[in-house]
Amino acid sequence: MNEPSKIVKTIASIIFPFITVYGLYIIVHGHLTPGGGFQGGAITASGIVLLLVAFGSAEIAKKIKESHLSILESIGALSFISLALLGLSATFFYNFLAGSNFIFGRIPPFGSNPGDMNTGGVLPLMNISVGLKVIAGLSAMVLALALFARLKRGRKGVRKK
């Protein structure tokens, strides 16, 4: 009951890369297919929670520290705001990369077309920063809940009224 069996650990560590690749695919192709930053971030965070459930919170807490996750989340939020402020030449959230020939600046032809990755303007960069923020935030929340519940078992009884 305390330690999960070997079958659960093996299957969880086999299937974890596939979940991560699938989640990152949905984040990056957010401007061509249904999906985007929030959805792909939730999928990848559920992959990390699968590892947390299979291996127990004591082993995962040695590899992933909460301060690293906090730094990743702050990087995601700051890059989202700086991408919004960089288009301040016209308005606050101006799409300054669509139409220019920098990196994501092609305009697709009107109507149905197979999607091209080069389009989108500032949208794929915003998708990646929001996805990073959601991954780090959801993993930190579940890790904090698991570690706190583990600590509660070691106290000298709870206070009854």
Binding site: L32, T33, P34, G36, F38, P108, G111, S112, N113, P114, G115, M141, A144, L145, F148, A149, K152, V158, R159, K160, K161
Partner: protein, 119 residues
């Protein structure tokens, strides 16, 4: 009358969630009731923007013969529902963390006995 079934389904979800919030005593059951209530509101928001026999407003590999403004569903209610779902997740996380702290302090999860403001 038979064509308003999605609206009636979301009304039933709101009624079930409201019953769980008003008449149950356990804190975890109240949290589940809040989640069901919020799911009903999201369902209502997204069925407001449906057109009959229409496809999603995405231009990648459209099926043949869809007219461009009239054959697609409205994109703005879908964007508002995305925001509402994320806010529901945030509220549920805070409710559950408070429930864990209350159980550690009082020893019980009954909502009639955790009423004191000062201990």
């Amino acid at each position: 009358m038979i064509y308003n079934i999605p609206y009636m389904a979301s009304a039933i979800l709101v009624i079930v969630g409201l019953y769980a919030v008003l008449f149950k005593r356990n804190l975890i059951k109240i949290a589940i009731g809040i989640t069901v209530l919020e799911s009903g509101v999201n369902l209502f928001l997204i069925t407001l923007g449906y057109r009959e026999n229409a496809v999603a407003p995405i231009y990648t590999n459209l099926p043949e013969g869809t007219s461009i403004p009239e054959g697609m569903t409205l994109p703005v209610p879908q964007a508002l529902t995305l925001t509402s779902i994320v806010i529901g997740v945030a509220v549920l996380a805070l409710i559950l963390s408070f429930a864990v702290k209350i159980y550690q302090h009082y020893g019980t999860l009954d909502s009639r006995e955790v009423r004191r403001l000062r201990e």
